[in-house]
Symmetry: C2
Subunit: 333 residues, 2 copies
DNA sequence: TTGAAAGCGCTAACAG
DNA sequence: CTGTTAGCGCTTTCAA
């Protein structure tokens, strides 16, 4: 919009047809070097910038991708988005951002419109999609990659970590330290990956002949703070706890300390994600290290391949990224 | 792309011209109700979704806006973006996300291309723009709003808070509590708003006849942690400190506590922004409450007005949002 | 290696 | 209130 200069102006001034100008932009090798240089010069001279919209209409490729996230308030989502943005930039794709707030209403036309015609592919980090919404999304013909969770029926490529194993291993560590009453801190809502984390936790606990203790708190941090306080005033404190998120682990840990317990001596705490939060708490939080940035970067890269049909043959990709652990002050040794 | 159904298909099936279909979509009142309903029905029946790209080309309005941010790793930026996304959605604008990493290189063509033809307006939250870049941005003819900072020459509409006053008032509070050696914690880089905060701090300190003490630490949190530790081992601890960011305040506070000091008795700490971090630290962090979400929401709203030329007459808008303070455990009383 | 010409799917005068 | 007709700025055959 900003530039009134069109491909015609360039063509005229360079004394070639607009087809040639188009070629130097899209298939430079198919234009004689001399002509190409002349055109390039005029382009620079005139400050010509191709109109991406016209290009999109003519070529039926927008070089835009759509990113659907539930919110940006969660550090993990933001970090993923950083990874996506970097790789998208590298491959010259622009990113359409769509924040859904996990609304389950039918009123999802916001992202549907986006998909309708403006994007060549979709990255989906919304972690509370209903089956119905997922179905609608799959009906779209644009390639899609799921970030940090997977379709229950594995119909869609996804990039994630093995949450069940991660939770299993973290719980195992807590068991090996001699803890008997190990709690799992989660939320009521069925986010995509939490059930997996819970399953890993349950498996480890039951294998050890212990009793699972799943505690549910508010999703919203501010609200959960009061619940943690209430918990330590009225319930028996566990020996250890594994939380689905760092922020929840920290809220729980702070409440434990406020109630007079000592971390990690009286109670050990482990979080999930390794956000910046983990380094800010006292003691610093032990946590599952999720390669969040990489999940974003890898899925964007995968999407570029799908958009170019580079791996059309591979029907069902599921990229499992490695996880690790950061053992810090909130656990013993 | 996903839908092969065009406006022609709808027109044919509804037995009207494509112009009429276009009208029911864009100027419903200018179509007889009966016709309108018939068209609407066919649209639904066929599952027709207008192609936004074609629409953009024909109308020369994309209903897209561009959002330029330095990173999403900073909680304040993410929260702003949430506000932007919500209002954009409300006004049916799509958001192009561009993460710059504050690179000062010439290679800024990523956002330049975005602006070239795909957006009707720009929201700029990049807080380290050089004069040259700013100039280039101003050369673009799309309306632009700055978020959380302002153009030094006030040429561009901006939505922000009065950082200088906020810092002044926070410092004043620290002075009134009897502190003499009050430090200001900042970073080396010249982000747009930090000099303002510093100016407010300096003003308050000098007014009270005290000596300013500006301390600079690494921008990256992980790096700064070591520097804080080093500081308390080798330098004289101040009586109080005001930081440019919550995360910095917390890192500094933790280091103070680790060094044997008691907060707030030995040293009072105040942050800036009121992110979730502030509630996670022990003691909880007193901080300047910046209406981050609102800054995003209000600027998006302002941009819609500018894009509709609703306030063309108002040449230089500067929306100053109110700030407040959250006095918590890291300060006395 | 280059040019001519036909659209991409829609909006926006202009008639009627 | 509705239809006709030009484009929007570019890509992409098809010929030359």
């Amino acid at each position: 919009m900003s530039n009134k200069i069109t491909i015609y102006d360039v063509a005229r001034k360079a004394d070639v047809s607009l087809a040639t100008v188009s070629r130097v932009l899209n298939n430079p090798t198919r234009v004689k070097e001399k002509t190409r240089n002349r055109v390039l010069e005029v382009i620079k001279e005139l400050g010509y910038r191709p109109n991406a919209i016209a290009r999109g209409l003519a070529s039926r490729r927008s070089t835009n991708i759509g990113l659907i996230v539930p919110t940006l308030s969660r550090a993990s989502i933001s970090e993923m988005t950083n990874g996506i943005a970097d790789i998208a930039d590298k491959y010259r794709y622009s990113v359409f951002l769509n924040v859904t707030h996990n609304e389950r209403e039918l009123q999802t036309d916001s992202w549907e419109n986006m998909i309708a015609s403006q994007v060549d592919g979709v990255l989906l980090a919304s972690d509370q999609m209903g089956e119905d919404q997922m179905d609608r999304l799959l009906n779209e013909t644009v390639p899609t990659v799921l970030l940090g969770f997977k379709d229950s029926q594995s119909r869609v490529p996804a990039v994630l970590i093995d949450y069940a194993s991660a939770a299993y291993e973290a719980t195992k560590k807590l068991i090996d330290s001699g803890n008997k009453d190990i709690a799992f801190l989660t939320v009521e809502e069925k986010f995509e990956t939490n059930p997996e984390k819970e399953a890993g936790y349950i498996k480890a606990v039951e294998e050890a002949g212990l009793t699972p203790r799943v505690l549910k708190f508010a999703d919203k941090f501010e609200t959960s703070i009061g619940e943690f306080k209430h918990f330590f005033e009225h319930e028996k404190a566990p020996d250890a706890a594994l939380a689905i998120r760092d922020s929840m682990a920290i809220g729980f840990m702070n409440a434990a300390i406020d109630s007079g317990l000592s971390v990690p001596d009286d109670i050990e705490i482990v979080g999930f994600q390794n956000t910046q939060y983990a380094l800010m708490s006292r003691p610093q939080l032990s946590t599952v290290m999720v390669p969040t940035y990489d999940i974003g970067a890898v899925s964007m890269r995968l999407l570029t391949k799908l958009m170019n049909k580079e791996e059309e043959e591979v029907e069902e990709q599921e990229v499992m990224l490695p996880h690790a652990f950061a053992w810090r002050g909130s656990t013993k040794n």
